[in-house]
């Protein structure tokens, strides 16, 4: 079995071997880069910002993987790092620009509108614009559930929130989006 075919548990074990450490970590990156990329990108919109955050995520993962508890799932742990890193990045942006939530939401909306493929008549774009109206944590819940189809139990571990609260949050998010789209 090649190192690329190993499951998460084996990859973590390989990571603890100094000889195989780098290979194992490369496999981890290859396995999760696209998923994490889109998880971050949907939040920060801009590719460059996403790239910065994603790199920081993997660097933090490298530093923390030695102390990683094997009873937790690797992908849950990586999503947790990515979520925290993304929220910190957004918080930092707010501080640097001295803007409140509404202004930041406007910034993200403007970024969407500036996309060269933007077509306001398309439902996909309307959905993106609607998502930008949601509070940050509700956005994350919506993204994880809608796009990544993540079970609530996993989301609960990532976001440190009860399953019930997550379901309610998702429900509210869906309703708000629906309202936004139907309004036109």
């Amino acid at each position: 079995m090649s190192i690329a075919e190993l499951d998460d548990k084996d990859l973590v074990l390989q990571f603890h071997d100094p000889i195989l450490k780098e290979k194992a970590f490369t496999s981890i990156i290859k396995k999760y880069q696209e998923k994490l990329y889109w998880h971050i990108r949907r939040m920060v919109i801009d590719h460059e910002d996403t790239n910065d955050v994603l790199q920081n995520v993997f660097i933090k993962a490298w530093k923390g993987l030695a102390n990683f508890r094997e009873d937790a799932k690797l992908y849950t742990w990586l999503y947790r790092i990515a979520t925290n890193e993304t929220l910190s990045f957004i918080e930092q942006k707010k501080k640097n620009a001295s803007v409140d939530f509404d202004q930041l939401s406007e910034t993200f909306t403007n970024k969407l509108v500036a996309d060269k493929n933007f077509e306001p008549s398309k439902l996909e774009w309307k959905l993106q614009l609607a998502i930008q109206q949601l509070p940050e944590k509700q956005k994350i819940v919506f993204h994880l559930r809608y796009y990544d189809e993540m079970p609530y139990e996993e989301m609960s571990k990532i976001l440190d929130t009860s399953v019930g609260a997550l379901k309610a949050s998702y429900h509210h998010a869906v309703k708000k989006i629906e309202e936004y789209i139907l309004k036109g």
Partner: protein, 229 residues
């Protein structure tokens, strides 16, 4: 119906179920599972927060037909521009090179921290420092005083250097100058510097009688002997 009207008239005014079409295929076969899942969800939600438990969450087991139709029309693929294929190919190398850089910097820092730092100067106790400062102040004071003292005794800066200037003066001018000076001046200060050839001593005693000279010398010798006795 009364309760629903109090909460939302819009929902209460929605068309009744009799206008709905027949359920989709397979609905009944999956219904027990759906209901059990809903019960399980409700049990999980109850006790966390009464507000949350009152909200009907759209779980994964809620059939598609119960949700708004717009969701079926939206593609889950992101409309955002995707990065080029090379981005993901190079990404691992970028991350690994950054990790290597950070590790190198960390190693450098650790090495620097392990190297003992030798102080350039030992810390001097305040008492010794004060003693040295006082001694230095006295030395400086004495030095400045002696400098001022010797500067006042020395030749002024604007005075003429006689030995350097004398050869420049014409001999005739010099003779004329010496000739003009009174004899007292020559005997008191400048005699040693006057050439004997140029000094005509004979002229000085030419008008003195030999007898007078002998008497004077004898008297002078007697007074000298008296003084010795």
């Amino acid at each position: 119906m009364k309760e629903l009207n109090e909460i939302s008239t819009a929902v209460a005014n929605l068309p009744g179920s009799n206008c709905l079409s027949t359920p989709p295929a397979g609905y009944f076969s999956s219904l027990p599972e759906t209901i059990m899942a809903k019960i399980a969800d409700a049990e999980n939600t109850q006790g966390i927060n009464p507000f949350i438990s009152s909200v009907t969450p759209p779980s994964e087991n809620v059939p598609e037909w119960e949700q708004s139709t717009i969701w079926g029309e939206i593609s889950k693929e992101s409309p955002l521009e995707t990065p080029g294929e090379l981005y993901f190919q190079d990404f691992k190398d970028n991350v690994l090179s950054r990790i290597a850089k950070e590790q190198k910097a960390l190693l450098h820092l650790e090495t620097a921290m392990e190297t003992p730092i030798i102080p350039l100067y030992k810390k001097i106790p305040q008492k010794i420092f004060m003693q040295w400062a006082a001694a230095a102040a006295i030395v400086i004071l004495v030095g400045i005083s002696s400098l001022i003292y010797f500067q006042t005794d020395s030749v002024p800066a604007n005075s003429m250097n006689l030995s350097a200037e004398l050869p420049k003066i014409d001999d005739q001018e010099l003779n004329a100058f010496i000739g003009e000076q009174p004899h007292e001046v020559l005997t008191e200060s400048g005699l040693a510097n006057v050439n004997s050839d140029e000094f005509e001593s004979e002229n000085l005693f030419s008008d003195v009688n030999d007898e007078e000279m002998k008497v004077y010398l004898q008297q002078d010798r007697l007074s000298h002997i008296v003084n010795l006795n």
